[in-house]
Amino acid sequence: MHMINIELEHITKIEGDASISITVEDGKATKVHFITEEYKRFFTEALKGKSILAVPSHLSRICGTCSNAHVLAAIEACEMALDIQPTKQTMMLRALTLHGLTIRDHALHLYLFCMPDIYGKDAFLDFDENDPHENQLLHDAFAIKSAGNFLATIIAGRSIHAMFPAIGGFIKYPDAEQVAQAIEKLESVREATVRLVAEFEKCTFAFDRHTDYMALLPDEGYGYINGRIRTSKGEVYDEKLYRELVEHVVLPYSQASAYQYKGDSYMVGALARMNIARDKLHPKTKESCQSALALFPSTNIFHNNLAQAIEIMHSVDESIDLLKNNPIVQEDLVKMPYREATGIGVIEAPRGALYHKIHVGADGKIMDGEVIVPTGQNQINIEEDCGRLVEDLVAKGVTDVEAITFELEKLIRAYDPCMSCAAAPNREERNEFSEEQQEIIEMYQQELRDLETWRNELLQKCEANERDGKDCNALRQVIEDEYFEKELELRQRAHYAEHSV
């Protein structure tokens, strides 16, 4: 048996600390573990007994880069619990808060994390200031990040751990001069966003694998703070039903949790949003990105980066419109008396759907809570992609471990994972299995992955045949029936193993 072991520890140029461990036996990836190395900080357990008023700032500390998304998800959950209806202006200011975050966060990821791979550099700061093109990229990067940072700061108080958004509204508002400065800064980087989209449109990195996509999207427009949960299968769900969509999966080797949808892996984030709702982008963005948008829907994970670049432009265009057309006035916070209730908040963070749930008592103290982050939802998809990527490389004769690990790093970066988020929250569920149980569960999980690989390969063949004009509907039905029957059997066996003594 020919075996390759790949151990990539402390992956660089991502948020937080992660490793990946892969074993390939006779060309098949028999073990793929994407491991969150961060230690748990127990935010949901620490919620218990806190005042509801402290929840947004507490949950913000789950993650530095996604903090303002956590603030808004927590506020939404608290407001639902207290039956508070935010004003139209409050919703507009929250949208601007998320636009500021999206611009800053995506730009950090695209320029500082991903672009060095494209240009064969170790670090973005290694770009040559004497090369006109590279010098332009350097200046574009820090100007775009700065514009997003400034927008978040004037609207939300800070671009990290925002202070102004509160349960029932905002506690402070920008003045007209700050708004004018923000518009000027955003308009000044509009051309840089066009160049950024062009950079990622021409990038030739590619990795395709069929998967499902999920995102919270508004009925009108392309936004991040409200709407309904939509899937690439065309399903639409009220956000309150989220727990029926995301199924918790235990990962004994990682500090994080993983999630599935109807027993399958799925992806959240910019690629999911772009695949499902690109027709709702700002008209100016659509006008400027016609050729790039023609590449969607896409199953190329590297198009997640292109989608992020397009979203930066969309957030710039939307923010300019919102700031120009909506004079900001002082408003009092909307307040309601405490009551025992459960509240749910769902936000599209830059990396995808973010779920907060709280259960508050009549005294305003939190009794329980739950947080589900985007990277947890992408975990299994990342592992399946990494496994397939390595199998493909080995099949092409690539056996140099350094070359394989570089390709893995590129792929993982394309997801823009956030390990700080992944490790900190989720309900601390007790799931102690015996060694024997664990082995059996892992065996069934591997068989499920193999089954999915089998189905996807056949479906891809169907797609290829259909492109040649052949009718594969009957074959597709046979594949799906077979898949469903085997999947059900494996899940029943896994369930029995988990619950047997």
């Binding site: 140029k13 948020e15 007994g49 880069t65 700061l125 350097l138 990040k145 700065s146 500090q255």
Partner: protein
């Protein structure tokens, strides 16, 4: 300036939200040209892949110390660094990463299996509980002005000629 003459910087992250790392990348918006000239970002995982772990003029430490491995790593960084700067609330005070230290007995019981599973320390520590710290920048995230003041002060102390050239 050749890389040998630059101030060697290490940025190390332990248990935290990485908000100070993000703030650092935001400070680059205004300071990247100046810092690129005087700093050798020798081990900054968020910026580069080929990090060099040998010796540092300034090691910035973000996050609290949650495991025996963290303790050993921090002591090793201290031994390689002229100056160690704790940045952000988790490094300076331990909180909020150390919030489990003050859990009720019921809360501790609820999480103990996870503390055990991953071999975490019984109590999370601040950086100064493990090594000597030369400067601290508190805040969650760290206060940007205090960070810049600390950086400029250390540049002036370690390499006065660079500080003069900057001013």
């Amino acid at each position: 300036m050749t890389i040998e003459n630059k101030i060697k910087i290490g940025w190390f992250v332990f248990s935290c939200s990485e908000d100070n790392t993000i703030l650092f990348t935001e400070l680059l918006n205004d300071h990247w040209q100046e810092w690129k000239k005087i700093f050798d970002f020798r081990h900054v995982k968020v910026l580069k892949k080929n990090n060099i772990y040998d010796e540092f003029d300034i090691a910035f430490i973000e996050g609290a110390i949650a495991s025996p491995e963290h303790e050993e790593k921090l002591k090793d960084i201290r031994s390689r660094s002229k100056k160690v700067v704790a940045v952000g609330a988790c490094a300076v005070t331990g909180v909020p990463a150390s919030q489990r230290n003050t859990f009720t007995p019921e809360q501790k019981e609820a999480i103990q299996f996870l503390v055990d599973r991953f071999g975490a320390l019984p109590e999370v520590k601040k950086v100064a509980d493990v090594v000597t710290v030369d400067a601290s920048v508190p805040g969650c995230p760290m206060n940007a002005d205090m960070f810049l003041k600390a950086v400029n002060g250390l540049v002036a102390e370690l390499r006065p000629e660079l500080a003069q050239a900057q001013s």
